[in-house]
Amino acid sequence: MNRSQLGGSLSIRHVSKIYDPEGVNVHALHDCSLEIPAGEICMVLGPSGCGKTTLLNAVAGFHDISSGEIRLDDKVLCNDAKPQAVQGPDRMVVFQNGALFPWKTLLDNVAYGPIVQQRLAPKMAREKALEMLAEAGLADVAQKYPGEVSSGMARRAEIVRALINDPKILLLDEPYRAMDALTKSIMHENLLRIYDLKPVTIFFITHDLEEAIFLGQRVVIMTTRPATIKEIIKIDLPYPRDHRVLSSEAFRLLVTRVKASVHAEAEKAFAAGEKEFA
């Protein structure tokens, strides 16, 4: 499969972000540079409140950047001249606490994107949505509201909602943060299965070490505020990965390596009393 045809490559160059709430500068990001090739699963790991979400928001276009440049497939998303990227379906976001519209059924949620972008007629959009939901194992609950299904199902539906728009890059902001460990590990396998069928570029933020190593091809470790890229560790584990990988020798070695790097940052964040800006 030609990976580069499906995903988009992301290029983050020397990006900094300084907030200014009430005149007190908050230096969130400092000189972050990262190149993500098309089709890669890139995990961004760091302690709470360090600025990982700020980076994601900059790519998605929710915030502007103070300096630097971000490009998608060599097209400029934002730079000094145009500090805020335009939001759009080429960079779909899956949110931390889920953002399925509670007043629409799962089916209508998924069909929303293509209908609103006028890529498909409503009837066709619903058919395609049902098809994709069935692939994800959610055919039975397609007509239910998000409030009626479990969080695992809701999160899967949200990913389907993102993927139906053929995004170049999938931005995941700690989507499994609020789940119990058992559900989480099933969701991980599920995500990798989806990735197998449709290798879109994935930019995944997490504070969970094992999640990062299990899912990713590279783990980017970020420091506490002002956040910058501390270290990038390549994950050599072969695909397909399932939960048995978690107890393998190679996995444990990687955990030790990543932990050595990230633990110091976690201690610093703890001492500083960082509050997660959920």
């Binding site: 759009g88 779909m92 953002a99 007043w103 929303y112």
Partner: protein, 290 residues
């Protein structure tokens, strides 16, 4: 924790919802304590006014006298369930409140949505609203009489004003309470501004709008009754006061009860409407099994 799985995928019909709720009420033991409470209250009311004839209570009409009058085909004071006058007054008030609510909602909801949608617009309009709001609605009576001719319009104006404040504020609150993640998600999905409005802002604010509507109904009745007392010709408020001045005391209690029943019915109607329009909330709350 789910005790029983929800099997059907069709939305629960209105009739079924109603049936489920009604049977649930009768299974509840506290219902019977409540009935006891009401009976005790009525008993005390009866005893103090008609049997023991306590010093201040004796002047009040007792429940027996009231009921006798209410169900009297040829009532002493001209108002009972059998007289057309009764229904005339009820209808006059209901009509006024309905008009007031209609105007207040059709003006208030769009205004509230706009204020929540655009900060600039809110900056221009909110201060004006906040300055006018502390002025009690009834203080507007003289101005209302001055500005609007006739006896109907000032009264409707006052009820509309009270309802308007509540509607705008609650709608505004509703829009501001929408989780920004929904707006971001919608933007990511390629929505244009009109999609954001119809698919996110309006449904998102709907729960608050309906809370506002319920409060609005109560407030509207409150102001209507007061306005009718001050300057009306027909209607329940007018009749209550009139019964006092013409010393037909039983009618007072009849009208009070009528007001209570109608007030409750109108709130319940709004609540039912809200439940129908917001199926997703009903079913989500049912899942949480509070």
């Amino acid at each position: 924790m789910m005790s029983e799985p929800v099997t059907g995928t069709r939305p629960l019909s209105f009739a079924r919802l109603l049936w489920l709720r009604t049977t649930l009420i009768f299974k509840n033991p506290t219902l019977y304590t409540g009935i006891l409470g009401i009976l005790v209250f009525l008993l005390l009311y009866y005893l103090t006014t008609e049997v023991w004839k306590l010093p201040r209570f004796e002047k009040l009409p007792g429940p027996v006298a009231v009921l006798k009058e209410w169900f009297n085909p040829d009532p002493m004071w001209g108002i009972s369930l059998y007289t057309p006058d009764y229904y005339q007054h009820v209808w006059a008030s209901v009509r006024r409140v309905s008009i007031a609510l209609l105007i207040a909602t059709s003006l208030g909801v769009p205004l509230g949505l706009l204020m929540g949608w655009s900060k600039v617009f809110k900056d221009y309009t909110f201060p004006l609203l906040e300055i006018l709001r502390p002025i009690p609605v009834l203080a507007w009576v003289p101005l209302a009489i001055l500005m609007f001719s006739g006896t109907e319009t000032p009264v409707i104006f006052l009820a509309t004003l009270a309802s308007f404040y509540v509607t705008v504020l609650n709608t505004l609150l509703g829009v501001e309470s929408i989780n920004p993640a929904y707006l971001r998600a919608a933007a990511c999905l390629g929505s244009k501004r009109r999609h954001l409005f119809w698919h996110v802002i309006l449904p998102g604010a709907l729960p608050f709008i309906f809370t506002g509507l319920q409060i609005s109904v109560g407030v509207s009745w409150f102001s209507l009754v007061a306005a009718e007392m001050v300057s009306g010709q027909y209607g329940l408020g007018y009749l209550v006061l009139n019964s006092y001045t013409s010393v037909t005391y039983e009618t007072i209690v009849i009208m009070m009860i009528t007001l209570g029943v109608i007030g409750y019915a109108s709130s319940a109607l709004v609540r039912l409407l809200g439940r129908q329009l917001m199926q997703w909330r009903v079913r989500a709350l049912a899942m949480e099994k509070r």
